[in-house]
């Protein structure tokens, strides 16, 4: 871990100010940043401790919920309002990491966690995300866990979050503050694709800090699921995950929303596939057709080609679970 200044911010304004100038990073739970600093992947000159900022509440907000950036993953997942109104979010959070990590990791930190690409994590190897311009050895290298959608010639990393997959499906908004005031970012615009600048994971501007995740008013309690597929039954990042929410009007899908995790540089949604399901019956045939629309865009590598079929099947099963009202249990490892 490199040497750095340590600053405790007492207010959001102080935090924003402390971020300016130096190569500074905000720190709260530390579960990803300290990890990366020990690997010399992150080498900030200044750490701004924001744990004392008043951003740790879950509040009703315009009929929805506002989850403060410092609310831990555990508090969010077990919050009665989250669990009853946005169970897909609770389920996704609990599918990620471990009891210990969820007690420390925060909502804001989860948004901003970095990829688990082996090469990004290993400073003995080149990586365009870690050191722009050095190359991407994952392309042609070990790429079992890498992206199949939205890749670029410079980067095939994925965003590893479970929570964010649910937030994507829920059309959450991210409220941020920065040198030029506050703004809200639609979830779909928060994370980005690597393009030619894979060093940027998201669209936060310099000096901006996440204040909250805002969940719009909606009824998602009955037809949802978070289905996660991974290399062991717990404590592993997703190979593919699906957050699915269906609005059903009798035997018709009035709205379908589903996002995939583990397959792209951001939680992956496909508007065409979702639109396809609108007004259709929640049948296996329709789910298969929707899945086929999604995977049409896949551009896999040698090591992760299996993810294309896995994603297809996961979409079908996820939508089936959501339609049937049999969401995936976190502890019962049989897949419903």
């Amino acid at each position: 871990m490199n040497r750095f200044d340590y600053v405790r911010a007492g207010t959001v304004a102080e935090a924003v100010q402390a971020l300016s100038g130096a190569n500074a990073r905000l720190i709260a739970g530390g579960t990803n940043l300290v990890d990366l600093m020990k690997y010399n992947v992150e080498r900030p000159d200044r750490l701004v401790d924001i744990t004392r900022l008043p951003l740790n509440a879950i509040e009703d907000h315009e009929g929805g919920l506002r989850i403060g950036a410092l609310v831990t993953n555990a508090i969010a997942a077990y919050d009665e309002r989250v669990a009853s109104r946005y169970p897909v979010l609770a389920s996704a959070i609990l599918a990620g990491a471990t009891g210990q990590l969820r007690n420390a990791a925060t909502t804001g930190g989860n948004l901003n966690q970095r990829t688990r690409c082996y090469y990004f994590y290993d400073d003995a190897t080149p990586c365009n995300k870690r050191e722009p311009g050095t190359g991407c050895p994952a392309i042609g290298g070990v790429n079992r866990i890498h992206a199949i959608f939205g890749i670029s010639p410079t980067c095939i990393a994925t965003h590893p979050s479970d929570m964010c997959v649910a937030l994507a499906a829920l059309d959450a908004e991210i409220r941020v503050a920065g040198p030029s005031g506050e703004r809200s970012i639609p979830f779909s615009e928060y994370h980005r694709l690597p393009g030619g600048t894979p060093q940027f994971d998201n669209t936060l501007q310099p000096g901006e800090i996440v204040l909250s995740v805002d969940l719009p008013a909606q009824d998602t309690a009955s037809h949802y699921t978070y289905l996660k597929l991974r290399d062991r039954l717990s404590y592993a990042f997703a190979l593919v995950s699906v957050a699915a929410i269906l609005d059903l009007d009798g035997d018709t899908v009035s709205r379908a929303r589903f996002a995939l995790g583990g397959v792209a540089h951001k939680p992956w949604r496909n508007a065409e596939a979702e639109a396809f399901l609108q007004g259709k019956a929640p049948t296996r045939e329709n789910f298969e057709a929707a899945a086929d629309i999604v995977i049409r865009e896949a551009t896999p590598q040698d090591g992760n080609a299996f993810k294309v079929e896995l994603a297809r099947r996961a979409i079908i099963r996820g939508l089936t679970q959501a339609a049937a009202g049999t969401p995936q249990s976190v502890s019962d490892k049989r897949i419903a």
């Binding site: 340590y6 911010a9 009891g99 210990q100 990590l101």
Partner: protein
Amino acid sequence: MLIDSGSPRAMETIGISLTINGETRNLQVAPWTTLLDLLREGLDLTGTKKGCDHGQCGACTVLVDGKRINSCLALAVMKDGAEITTIEGLGQAGAMHPLQAAFVEHDAFQCGYCTPGQICSAAGMLAEGHAHSREEIREAMSGNICRCGAYTNIVDAIEDVMQSGAAR
């Protein structure tokens, strides 16, 4: 700002206060010292183990303000004012915590290196109150890797304590 350490490397240590196993201690720590390294290297509380130093194994689990966390990923300076319970504070030979006794009784360890983390994690898990069945215990304890493979015995031990209601 509550604290500003000034320019890089100008400042070596920051004063913090931690209550560790019931004893309040005023300590000077460098900002890059993790809670785990403070416990092990600074305070010779080596019961808390370093298995990976990256939150990938759970051997470093301690209770901070009653909640289980990976102490390897916590900067000590950020825990100023917190109450820390390590395996040494949970119970001692001769006056063991029910979980410690149950782990011995059920042979819930072999090499013993993951054991303090398993026990602290189990204590935190019981306090959380979300796990009730064996299945739920298995999931809730999946943040603690045991390479010796004592998992079934670990679940037996925890279930035993859970059913007897012996844990605080």
